[in-house]
């Protein structure tokens, strides 16, 4: 039996936008297993980013449950949530790198948080940057890197603490199509070769086609789930 990495049951999230109540999630049931590569698709406002925030323990649901490897996220306090987030790799649309740190410094940062020694984290950061093809750019700051390179740094950073899974929010949304293809290929290889569990929120059909599974969201609900053909090969 495969391990369930993420499970949501009847997940609801309501928030106020000024005086207007917004039902961002209206009862989402989703299961992600180890080694999965899932795309969450949907138009703007469909609730996919909100779902990502819940799965990433960045936000708490109004109703329903989120389980990460069987742990009920809603029962965790702030410290435990922080500990949990350390085991999740985030990749954001706008890279979210720390501008004053070098590529290596950015990748080292998540390892410094739990207190890993300098030599050890430096070595691992360089290995990860090599994995994403940035061996020669370790000492460059984000401003000196292209969009694609920045996103590679962000992926290397997300992998730093050997996460339970990667959460990617529009990872190709801010880069050109050629670079986007390279990023998709990199992500696919990470899943296939290294067995990294990946959940990706995207508009990009190219990415959706590369994943093993895709769910379509609309108005805070999952209305369609599709298993991509190449997995059944």
């Amino acid at each position: 039996m495969r391990t369930r990495v993420v499970e949501t049951t009847n997940l609801k999230k309501t928030y106020m936008l000024g005086k207007v109540q917004v039902d961002a999630l209206r009862g989402v049931d989703l299961t992600v297993e180890k080694g999965d590569f899932l795309a969450i698709l949907g138009p703007s406002g469909s609730g996919k980013s909100t779902l990502l925030n819940m799965i990433g323990a960045l936000d708490k649901p109004t109703e329903g449950k989120v389980f990460i490897e069987g742990v009920d996220v809603s029962k965790l306090n702030d410290n435990a949530l922080a500990d949990l987030r350390r085991e999740i790799g985030f990749v954001f649309q706008f890279f979210n790198l720390i501008p004053r740190l070098t590529a290596r410094g950015n990748v080292e940062l998540p390892m410094a948080i739990p207190g890993l020694g300098k030599t050890e984290r430096r070595k691992r950061a360089e290995e990860l940057l090599e994995t994403v093809g940035l061996k020669e750019r370790v000492n460059h700051k984000p401003a000196e890197l292209s969009g694609g390179e920045r996103q590679r740094v962000a992926i290397a950073r997300a992998l730093a603490n050997n996460p339970k899974f990667l959460l990617m929010d529009e990872p190709t949304g801010n880069i050109d199509s050629k670079t986007a293809n390279e990023i998709i290929e990199l992500v696919r290889r990470l899943n296939e070769e290294k067995g990294v569990t990946i959940i990706v929120v995207t508009h990009d059909q190219q990415i959706a086609l590369q994943t093993k599974r895709a769910v379509q969201m609309l108005d805070g609900l999952i209305f369609e789930e599709k298993v991509n053909q190449h997995e059944s090969k």
Partner: protein, 432 residues
């Protein structure tokens, strides 16, 4: 996160905005420099005055005066400050005092403002009538001749002068010297019409330079004549004060003799011990120090508000960064410690530079103060009296300034740091 990593991260944030960090630090520097400069000058001044008073006072002495006690005199001729109760101390009262237990001896002092004339020049000084032998015994370290000799059985027209009468301008242009004839002119205000009395005498000794000031102790600004001469010259048997030399300077002795003297004169006299005066001076200085430190502290508080302001701006600019850190698994307390570390770095740098600047400033001010500035050597105001102030940076002031700079920085950073730590990751990441 390791402490070293927290500081390293905080330092990288400071380094990114050098000018802003520099200006924030400058606020702390100014506050700390002001505190250090004011306190070290004030401490130096206190030390100088205390040493000079201790020299001039002799701790085993009591000063007996009439009425409500002593005003704080400057120069040998201090303000008496005694209320006129109709009671007067007589020169012969020393006999009563001498008989008391633990009293070694007592000296009566008559003191009047006068003109001292030599050739065609004149100075306004104090004429002091004392028993030379007894006075020398009480103030053996200061009533000491630099030239000439202090006669133990003085002849009628003997005069001893202080250094600032012999050399009033400190430039070796002597006003008078040993063997010169000087005239002391005193205006008898009780005569009708008021009448100038003149005492002419030969200088037999010039006292060595004493510096500073004292209460009825030897002074550079006084001219001394035998008590018997003063009696007839001033036409009085009354004395201004009686200095009492004790067997020792134990607190118990001081108290018991003080009580005995007050009792002997039916409570009509005030007895002031030198140590009590020193205590009062010390207490006055403490108050002045607190006042000065308070003024300086205000500037540091302003610096603190500057730190808070800058950190709140920084917090707003770095909201997204805080969101990233939290998304990467950083705990709220680590975010708090990063912001506080930035304040610690600013506070420590500011305090260190402030202490150094304050020390330099104190030395510059002390040099101006001591060496010919507004209280220069040529100024004959008694308070300058040749005083050299050496600023003193005590370990308490040093560590206190360091700690104060640090504490103010951290306290004012607490609120922004707390706000940063409480940011919700999802909201911080969404912040634009």
């Amino acid at each position: 996160m390791k402490v070293s990593d927290v500081f390293s991260y905080a330092f990288s944030a400071i380094r990114l905005r050098k000018l802003r960090a520099g200006l924030t630090t400058l606020g702390v520097v100014i506050g700390i420099a002001a505190i250090v400069a004011l306190l070290s000058i004030s401490q130096g001044l206190q030390d100088t005055i205390t040493i000079q008073l201790q020299t001039g006072f002799a701790t085993d002495t009591l000063i007996v005066s009439t009425g409500g006690g002593l005003g704080m005199g400057l120069g040998a001729g201090g303000a008496m400050g005694a209320a006129d109760s109709g009671f007067s101390l007589l020169i012969n009262d020393t006999q009563t005092i001498d008989e008391l237990e633990n009293v070694s001896m007592s000296v009566a002092i008559i003191q009047k403002a006068c003109y001292v004339k030599s050739d065609e020049k004149s100075l306004i000084r104090y004429a002091v009538g004392v028993d030379f032998a007894k006075y020398e015994n009480v103030y053996s370290t200061t009533f000491e001749a630099e030239s000439g000799e202090i006669p133990l059985n003085p002849e009628n027209e003997t005069v001893i002068i202080g250094k600032r009468i012999s050399d009033p301008w400190r430039n070796e242009t002597l006003f008078c010297n040993v063997n010169d004839l000087v005239e002391i002119i005193w205006t008898n205000g009780t005569a009708r019409p008021p009448k100038n009395e003149t005492y002419a005498g030969h200088v037999v000794a010039v006292l060595k330079e004493i510096g500073g000031f004292s209460l009825f102790g030897p002074s550079d600004f006084s001219v001394y004549i035998p008590i018997s001469q003063a009696q007839s010259f001033f036409g009085t048997d009354k004395c201004d004060v009686i200095i009492v030399k004790l067997e020792n300077d134990d607190k118990a002795t001081i108290e018991s003799v003080s009580e005995a003297i007050e009792e002997a004169f039916g409570g009509q006299v005030s007895v002031t011990s030198s140590t009590a005066v020193l205590d009062i001076i010390s207490s006055v200085f403490s108050t002045v120090e607190i006042f000065l430190a308070g003024i300086a502290a205000i500037s540091l508080l302003v610096a603190g508000i500057g730190i808070m302001n800058i950190m709140i701006v920084s917090l707003m600019e770095r909201t997204r960064e805080i969101g990233i850190l939290k998304a990467l698994g950083m705990k709220s307390r680590t975010v708090l410690s990063i912001f506080l570390s930035e304040a610690v770095i600013v506070g420590l740098m500011g305090a260190a530079i402030g202490i150094a600047s304050g020390w330099v400033l104190a030395n510059v001010v002390a040099r101006v103060f001591s060496g010919g500035g507004f209280m220069g050597a040529r100024n004959q105001a008694a308070v300058s009296g040749g005083m050299t102030i050496t600023p003193v940076l005590t370990p308490v002031v040093f560590l206190g300034a360091l700690a104060f700079g640090l504490v103010v920085s951290v306290i004012f950073a607490l609120y922004p740091a707390w706000r940063a730590s409480k940011l919700k990751p999802v909201e911080a990441l969404r912040y634009e």
